[in-house]
Amino acid sequence: MSRFYKLREFALKRWSLMFLFVLLVFFSITGRGFFSIENYQDIFLASTSIMLLGIGVTFVIITGGIDLSVGFTMGFTSVVMASIVRHLSQAGFGPGISILIAFVPTIAVGIITGLINGYIVAYLRVPPFIATLGMYGIAHGAALLWSGGFPVANLPDTVISIGNRYLFYFLPGKWLAFFHMPEGVPHSALRHVVRLIPLVAVVVIVIALFMVIILSKTKFGKHTYAVGNSMVVSRRAGIKVRSHLLKIYCLASLFAALGGITYVFRYGSGNAEAGAAHMLNSIAAVVIGGASLYGGTGDIQGTIIGALIIGALQIGLVILAVQPFYQYIAIGAIIIFGVILDQFSQGKLNQIE
């Protein structure tokens, strides 16, 4: 194997990384104000929901399944979280304790959703597409019923302040502050303050790194790939395929709940439609990242890149003042392009051997 082939293999596997790079360079040159730290942070922030949902969906797609319910599970959990925080704080609890208490039922709702999905897929043998399509409707309806069809707002300010906090604030040449905007900054100076490293981004990066280890280094991760290769082979090898699938669907819904929680922190409200667009976006990110819908391949790194491509497109097209509707066309085209490239490269790789 020469270096050329290795490079080529990398290029075929990680075309999405190169595509992201080209996209960023293109927008940086053509879009005024695109090339700035603040904007790059915004791209990352715009991608965080897709990343969180996408991490869970990556596991599901590697097993050869699909989860259509994550978007509305995200919406449902955001409604649960927001309404519990609101009720508790109206009942006189402090914001900190309200948030901590609300985590428990929110995560529980996520896990229960996943248990139902997983049970129906793994034990009742319903195709994942159908099972999670059912949950897609149920989670959507449940969230609308729970919230009465309106966003759940009026949460304590602490919520949105945590969700939009940065690790560093500094005014070039004047001061640098950690985690808090200093008191008494004049309004005229506010717009010159540089905010660096959003707290939400740090949380998402830590979670993503953890999941990279789970998928690529652990027994659980290996079994996920094995199940996606062949359920029969996995079962013969002694892997408990059904309980593994159950865990995978729970994981996907748990990440949908994390998406819902993140939404509440970022926007200070819960909304049944919070993740409506992200069901397809998260699947798109996973596929752009190189996972095959046939199962057995894909990784978290690819999904993160896929999510960043979608985020960069959304913001880049806005900056170029292109009608935002074009982003749907662009994302759709990239998905198809990516899958075709994947087919092509696998044929090519076979020839090399």
Partner: protein, 265 residues
């Protein structure tokens, strides 16, 4: 021959798939450190029978005893951990995983780091290399998906995986079906080697010449039933062929023509 305690005893074993009875009330004893061949026409229930032994299928009724103890049913990992390995006809390899992953599939070696089961890849790679070297199986690489290997090489990985765990019983479903003459000879020698080392071997084969070359006794399945067990030295190809085709060792001219056609379907 002196009567020896069987290592595996199958009792009243039945497997139904819906309305189809694939294995019907089978009783069979497998002698230790011998090669037992399981023969029968297509659909006679051979593969179903061995997949109950390997824990893949859970029997509808009946028991299997291993060294006198009941064998866990429908639990592949427990069966493997007791020392019974299976080499499947389709090799049962995960095509997109590499060689060490396949050798250790389901029984990965790991270290627990902060509650996570982190795979010990170096160990698994070294051990896979060792077992392949012992079996004189040369592979162009270990760390690429198995699907880039040739049929014979894959067969090697499948056999290596079964032998790595020092099994006491090895079940082989059509081990030579997809092989060339040279590889076939190697596998036949391997089977005899295993026996010389005290391993019990159960093989399924359609090739009567292979069966008579290596086996010590031959069990015949016919429409899900065990219709005869013969010591190889006390039987011949005609007798076995008659059992396979008619399910009975009695010569009956009336039955031959009609019975044969009926069973071919």
């Amino acid at each position: 021959m002196a009567k020896v305690e069987p290592i595996i005893s199958i009792r009243n074993l039945t497997k139904k798939f819906g309305g189809l009875t694939a294995v019907n009330n089978v009783d069979l004893d497998i002698p230790p450190a011998r090669i037992t061949a399981l023969v029968g026409s297509n659909g006679a229930g051979k593969s179903t029978l061995i997949q109950m032994l390997s824990g893949f299928y859970k029997p509808t009724s009946g028991e299997i005893y291993y060294k006198g103890e009941p064998l866990p049913l429908g639990n592949p990992l427990s069966v493997k951990n007791l020392g019974i390995e299976t080499i499947y006809q389709d090799l049962s390899l995960a095509e997109l995983l590499d060689v060490p992953d396949n050798v250790f599939l389901g029984r990965e070696k790991y270290r627990t780091v902060m509650g996570l089961k982190i795979l010990d890849r170096d160990h698994m790679k070294a051990e896979s290399e060792k077992v392949l070297k012992r079996l004189k199986i040369n592979l162009p690489f270990l760390h690429k998906p198995i699907r880039f290997l040739s049929g014979g090489q894959r067969q090697g990985v499948s056999i290596g995986r079964a032998l790595y765990w020092n099994a006491e019983v090895i079940i082989m479903d059509e081990p030579t079906a997809a092989l060339g003459i040279k590889e076939k000879k190697q596998v036949m020698n391997l089977i005899l080697d295993l026996k010389a080392n005290g391993v019990t071997v159960i093989i399924i084969s359609h090739e009567m010449s292979d069966v008579f070359e290596v086996s010590d006794c031959i069990a015949v399945l016919y429409q899900g039933k065990c219709v005869g067990v013969r010591e190889k030295n006390k039987t011949n190809i005609d007798d076995i062929a008659r059992l396979i085709i008619t399910g009975s060792s009695e010569e009956s001219p009336v039955q031959t023509a009609g019975g044969e056609n009926e069973n071919r379907h």
